[in-house]
């Protein structure tokens, strides 16, 4: 069974969704990701969905859920690289991903995460 790889970079986890998401894959990702956050004490999760062209309400909910789970584990989620069509679909579905940070590309997403970690590390 295929899995979505989770990469660790400094205190962050990187997830790149490059295949069409189906339900079981999404559940697997949630399991893996929460486990990795705990194992690596990650402070942030960056989800790159720049190659995702089709979303449905399930995927939208899944991203929201991942963000909520990560927040419980004290890691911030940034979703980067959303396609215009995907953004429009999500808005039309009424899913505006409240509580999820977004950025245009990986660079800006990492900048957001670093900024947060930096501000928290100050005494």
């Amino acid at each position: 069974m295929d899995r979505i790889p989770i990469l660790k970079l400094d205190a962050f986890l990187l997830v790149t969704i490059q295949v069409d998401m189906h339900d079981r894959l999404a559940m697997q990702l949630q399991d893996d990701l929460t486990a990795r956050i705990v194992a690596t004490r990650a402070r942030g999760v960056l989800i790159d969905i720049s190659t995702l062209e089709i979303v449905d309400s399930f995927i939208g909910r899944m991203i929201s859920n991942i963000a909520a789970m990560a927040r419980v584990l004290d890691a911030e989620t940034v979703v980067v690289g959303m396609q215009p069509a995907v953004a429009i679909t999500l808005v039309e579905l009424g899913l505006s991903l409240e509580g999820v940070r977004t950025a245009l590309n990986v660079d800006k997403g990492m900048a957001l995460l670093r900024e947060r970690v930096h501000s928290e590390s100050l005494p």
């Binding site: 979703v79 396609q83 215009p84 953004a87 429009i88 808005v91 505006s96 245009l104 590309n105 900048a111």
Partner: protein, 286 residues
């Protein structure tokens, strides 16, 4: 007397009488639309048309209205159908201008050829064919002019649509002009998001100075656009909110509290500059 000659003869011999009868008829028929056009103008157009038709018919060629002989008549008809299309005449009213010449013309022909029924029938037929052709030509030109008006308006509307302007490094502005309906919102949203991807903008300023009214639907469309831009990782600022619109928004109970709003584009630009500078080290805003 041959039929073509009878027609020419009548046109040459009784221009004043024909004109008087014709104008009288047009005015009484109710298709003259004196609300759109003065009587003097109508009289002048009728006189010119009669003169041109008489000149063209004098050559003896009344069959072929697409020929060079009839070119001045065609030009004249093109001119009046254009002006009438713009003045707001209906196609019927415009074509009736030509068709209404039949009655006075036939009356004259009958008076001329009262003794020869056969010749009268022939000349009446000829006059009918000629005027029908000219009338149809007028209707056709009217139609063409209307289509031109429509296509020009479409062009203008298209130009009025939605430019996305790059104001500064990673700052976009979207000046909205005209009413926002669902269809237009879709176009606005798509072009804004596309431009965000192209330019890597961090902030988009939506300026609604040119939006005449904001109701709940328009507000919802705006909020959707803001939400979609946020999903792409760009912040939106709504600017150009006029005092009346601010009041309307509050009275309607629209919640804009999650969006940064500014009264003018200048204020929005200022805050956008500050934000990008704070967020992107290396960007310089003087």
């Amino acid at each position: 007397m041959a039929s073509a000659q009878a027609l020419q003869h009548v046109l040459m011999k009784y221009p004043k009488e024909l004109l008087a009868d014709w104008v009288q008829l047009q005015l009484s028929a109710g298709t003259a639309r004196t609300d759109l056009m003065r009587e003097g103008e109508l009289r002048e157009q009728s006189r010119e048309f009669l003169t041109l038709v008489a000149q063209a018919a004098a050559t003896g060629d009344t069959e072929n209205v697409t020929g060079t002989v009839w070119a001045p008549v065609r030009e004249f008809l093109a001119g009046i159908s254009r002006s009438r299309a713009l003045q707001g005449f209906t196609p019927t009213e415009t074509a009736t201008f030509v068709f209404s010449l039949k009655q006075p013309l036939f009356t004259r022909l009958r008076a001329e050829q009262s003794r020869d029924a056969e010749a009268l029938a022939a000349s009446l037929w000829e006059a009918t064919v000629l005027l029908d052709k000219l009338g149809l030509l007028t209707a056709e030109m009217y139609q063409k002019n209307r289509e031109e008006v429509i296509s020009r308006q479409q062009q203008e509307l298209l130009e009025l649509s939605t430019p996305v302007v790059k104001l500064w490094d990673s700052i976009l502005a979207l000046p909205l002009i005209g009413t926002l309906d669902s269809e237009r919102t879709q176009v606005v949203m798509e072009s804004l998001l596309q431009k965000i991807v192209e330019t890597g903008a961090a902030i988009a300023i939506i300026d609604i100075t040119g939006v005449p009214t904001v109701d709940t639907l328009v507000a919802q469309h705006l909020l959707k656009t803001v939400a979609a831009a946020r999903l792409m990782g760009a912040d939106c600022i709504i600017s150009g909110i006029r005092p009346q619109i601010a009041q309307t928004i509050v009275h309607l109970g629209v919640n804009l509290s999650e969006v940064t709003t500014k009264a003018t584009l200048a204020d929005a630009f200022l805050i956008a500059l500050r934000r990008t500078q704070a967020r992107l080290p290396g960007a310089t805003a003087s």
